[in-house]
Subunit: 371 residues, 2 copies
DNA sequence: TTGTAGGCGTTATCAA
DNA sequence: TTGATAACGCCTACAA
């Protein structure tokens, strides 16, 4: 009878187990378990005794053992392209906040937008039996055997920022089409006529959506689409820098950049070429950060609700984990155009008539994002 | 005999276990285990059979079960104040890179520099039996029972950015004293005479070190220490903003700010007061970011090797986990002064004689930090 | 209400 | 080399 042996084992230097507590309080492990988990009514007397023993032994349930028994780890995996890309920290933070609130932890992985790393991470997370996965999918498809594994383990995925219907329809994204559309329209309203784009990798859904928003806005504003002003980047600084050189050589008077990192690259290129913003070209970019309000050029941006994005994604995932089998949803959060100076709007209206600028709440906007 | 029952169970919808593989390949679980872990020599024949079964069943070892048996999770916990503070993503990235390389995963927690959240996270991480913890300690001490638990479970901690000898002497930090010293000296060399400080919470080691560097530099440069120019913040934007208002009202001509977020707050305050940098006050701050090179004022900063910090911390931790019992070490990484324009150095020398500016590698510095 | 005896999926110890 | 079986620490029917 193994139980006897177990009860009899020395608690030596190891941390206390449920058996030690049971022994010390002269009850069965069941009773201890019941007390710990507030289940099944345990008599006043025994409960007190057990609680005392727990305190005395400084007992903490071993969650690994519990996970094995329960088939639940209360851990969720999160795979992002790169936590060092300033877009993601706030998303991760949102996810962690929500996870924490619901008693979950976050296992974080970086994929560098690379299929190889992504697949490795997914495999590991599955092997570690996370209860669900938050994923910002890289461009390429999973290999079949991984697809198979994912099917088998049958844990929920929720996509973040980018859709990928082949895996799941559950996703929390931003309305990228609208954001890009607004950005480009604003550039047009600021008097820009030859508007260029530095976009993300066309293969990922949000880059595609931003590109479509760009083109449709051009059309709506009656502006020409010039292929040489349409450049595809990869959301990183370097690509923005190269794209900037290529694009600026054609002297557009307006540029929409699909994320912050590429904007940094573009500005560096502009500087090297002696071009100034907003005097020589208007600029609107995606992603807003608290510090953009204090540096020049003051960037006009399309802010995406990063924190909220993480929260909603995690909460949806947790609902799925809890067994919610309702129809898959794509939750689309609305972006917000933050007009500052890089678009040259002020320049434009002052040449024209009225002057409407920086809508209110400078300080609150500054503080909003970082507690 | 339970084994018989187990072997006999239907593999139904569940994912394949080692028993299923054993059964399918007509060997014992031991043999399967040996094959999976490349241990103990398994005969060619059996190995082939087992491998075939593994492939056929798409078998992946359950790492939870393995962890329970091995008493090792290959997971490390990392607690940072706030991943949304732009300082930490690169540190976390470094840690994740190193962890990944050594077969570890990262469980990420945010403490908001709050003892309550920090303690909760530590407890949870211990219960989840992480193999070690990377910690940027909040100011206050752990409560005794937690101290006790930490002692008992006996897992290694490595401190990141801040020392806290009561817990462990193992730490990977930056030479904050030197960084602050260099910053202030540079301000002085740029002709600033009344230099103020916006520092971090004096109770954490790095804020203290930066403060000492500040004071010693003042002394070395023969500059007066004016108490009203010495303000303590908490590393967040808001505190920099408030400190900025307070500080600037005394019209210092130079300011050293102990981190980037507070610098953002300060600049906002300066703007509200109509003060300009570097014309009205010189500025040097900590933390450098790729985008600081393209916005104005171009910030002169003291860059800390964030990525390296994460790598070294994780590697030290992993060495400890592996059983390295050598003497505790405090690894101190060297900061690097990056001279740009906010200190007014160019202003100063051009009023004077020569002109030595932005030391080389503009582009490489830009790209260095983000791949 | 409380106790007993598997079972969760591995690894590891002994025999064979 | 292989196999049987006891841990690992917890949960939970089923019994008492």
């Amino acid at each position: 009878m193994s139980a006897v042996k177990k009860v009899g084992r020395k608690k030596s230097g190891k941390t206390a187990s449920i058996y030690d507590v049971a022994k010390l309080s002269r009850v069965s492990v069941f009773t201890v378990s019941a007390v710990v988990n507030h289940k099944s009514h345990v008599g006043e007397k025994l409960r007190k005794r057990v609680e005392a023993a727990i305190r005395k032994l400084n007992y903490r349930p071993n969650l690994i053992a519990r996970s094995l028994a329960n088939q639940r780890t209360h851990t969720i995996g999160m795979i992002v392209p790169d936590i060092a890309n300033p877009f993601f920290p706030m998303v991760v933070r949102g996810a962690e906040d929500a996870a924490q609130r619901h008693g979950y932890n976050l296992l974080l992985c970086n994929s560098d937008d690379t299929l190889a790393k992504e697949e490795k991470s997914v495999e590991l997370l599955l092997s570690k039996r996370v209860d669900g996965i938050l994923l910002t999918k890289a461009a390429e498809d999973f290999r079949p055997s991984l697809r198979q594994m994912i099917k088998e383990v049958n844990i929920p995925f929720v996509l973040v920022m980018r859709t990928y219907p082949k895996l799941t329809k559950d996703a929390v994204i931003t309305d990228d089409y609208q954001g890009a559309y607004d950005a480009v329209c604003h550039l047009a309203r600021s008097g820009r006529r030859r508007i260029g784009l530095i976009g993300g990798p066309r293969k990922v859904s949000n880059a595609q959506a931003r590109w479509e928003g760009f083109r449709d806005a051009l059309k709506a504003e009656g502006l020409p689409y010039e292929p040489e002003l349409d450049i595809e980047g990869d959301y990183r600084i370097e690509s923005g820098f190269r794209a900037g050189h290529a694009l600026l050589s054609h002297r557009p008077d307006g540029i929409y950049v699909a994320n912050h990192l590429m904007t940094v690259g573009l500005l560096k290129a502009a500087e090297e070429m002696g071009l100034r913003c907003p005097e020589d070209f208007g600029l609107v970019s995606f992603d807003d950060y608290p510090w953009l309000g204090v540096f020049r050029p003051r960037l006009t941006t399309v802010e995406l609700p990063k924190h909220q994005l993480g929260i909603e994604a995690a909460e949806l995932l947790i609902r799925r984990i809890a067994g919610d089998r309702s129809k898959a949803v794509v939750k689309k959060l609305q972006p917000e155009l933050r007009i500052r100076e890089s678009c040259g709007f002020a320049l434009h209206v002052s040449r024209g008539q009225s002057l409407e600028q920086e809508p209110g709440n400078a300080k609150s906007a500054l503080v909003r994002d970082l507690r």
